[in-house]
C-alpha cells in the first residue's frame, strides 16, 4: 500500500508493479486508475486518510487475494489532487483471467465502500466535504 502527498505518478506505479511481478507467472494484470474529473467548477479534490484502519483493510484484502492465488496493490493520494490528475491506482494480478476480472471489481467496490478516506471538493481554494457522494461504512450507526 502506497500513500503520496501529491497526485500519483501513474506510469511509474504501473511500470513498477509490472516489473515487480515480471517473473511471478501471473497471466492477468488489471490496474484501475482513478482520475479527477472536471465537474461542478472544482479545481481539485482533496483527501483525508486514516492510515491505520486503511492498512488493516488492505492487509485483509491481501489475505483474501492470496487465498485465491492472486495479489492486490493500491496507491492513493493525500491532500489536494488537481482535475485531470490521478488520486487512486489499484491493481490485481492473477494466474487466471476470470479470477482477475472478478477480483478487481470486488476490490474497487469494497474500497469505495469501506476504505477510510474522506473526499472534499476544492473550489476557490475552499475545501468542502463531498457529503452527497460519500457512503456510510459497514457497521455505521452503531452509536445512534
Amino acid at each position: 500500500m502506497e500513500l503520496y502527498n501529491s497526485p500519483l505518478d501513474t506510469k511509474e506505479i504501473f511500470g513498477r508493479w509490472l516489473d515487480e511481478h515480471a517473473e511471478s507467472n501471473y497471466g492477468a494484470y488489471i490496474p484501475f486508475v482513478g482520475t479527477i474529473r472536471a465537474e461542478d467548477g472544482i479545481e481539485a479534490l482533496s483527501f483525508d486518510i486514516y492510515e491505520p484502519v486503511l492498512q488493516k483493510w488492505f492487509d485483509d484484502w491481501q489475505k483474501r487475494a492470496k487465498a485465491i492465488g492472486a495479489v492486490v496493490k493500491m496507491a492513493h493520494s493525500i491532500g489536494d489532487v488537481p482535475v485531470h490528475t490521478s488520486s487512486y491506482v489499484s491493481a490485481v494480478f492473477s494466474p487466471k483471467r476470470r479470477v482477475a476480472l472478478e477480483l478487481i471489481d470486488e476490490f474497487v467496490e469494497d474500497f469505495k465502500a469501506n476504505a477510510p478516506i474522506w473526499k472534499y471538493d476544492v473550489k476557490d481554494g475552499e475545501r468542502i466535504y463531498a457529503a452527497d457522494r460519500s457512503t456510510p461504512m459497514d457497521g455505521a450507526g452503531v452509536l445512534s
Partner: protein, 73 residues
Amino acid sequence: MIQVEFLGPIAKAPIEMEAATLADVSQKLKEDSTLTQWLDKCAVALNDTMVNDLSTALKDGDRVSILPPVCGG
C-alpha cells in the same frame, strides 16, 4: 479514561471520558448536539480495529475513532 477521536470532516477535537462499554460512549456522544447529524452515519474503530457491537468492553487508555461516510478513489 478512554479517548474518543473524530475523523475526516467532523470538525471536533478529541474528548476523554469514562466508559465501560461502547454503549456508554454512545450515550455520552448523543448528549452532544454538534454530533446529532453524524452518529447514525458513522462507523466506529476501537484501537484501529472496526467494531460494531455496543456491548464491546472498553479499558483504560482505549482509543475510540468515529469514522464518517467515506469516498476514496
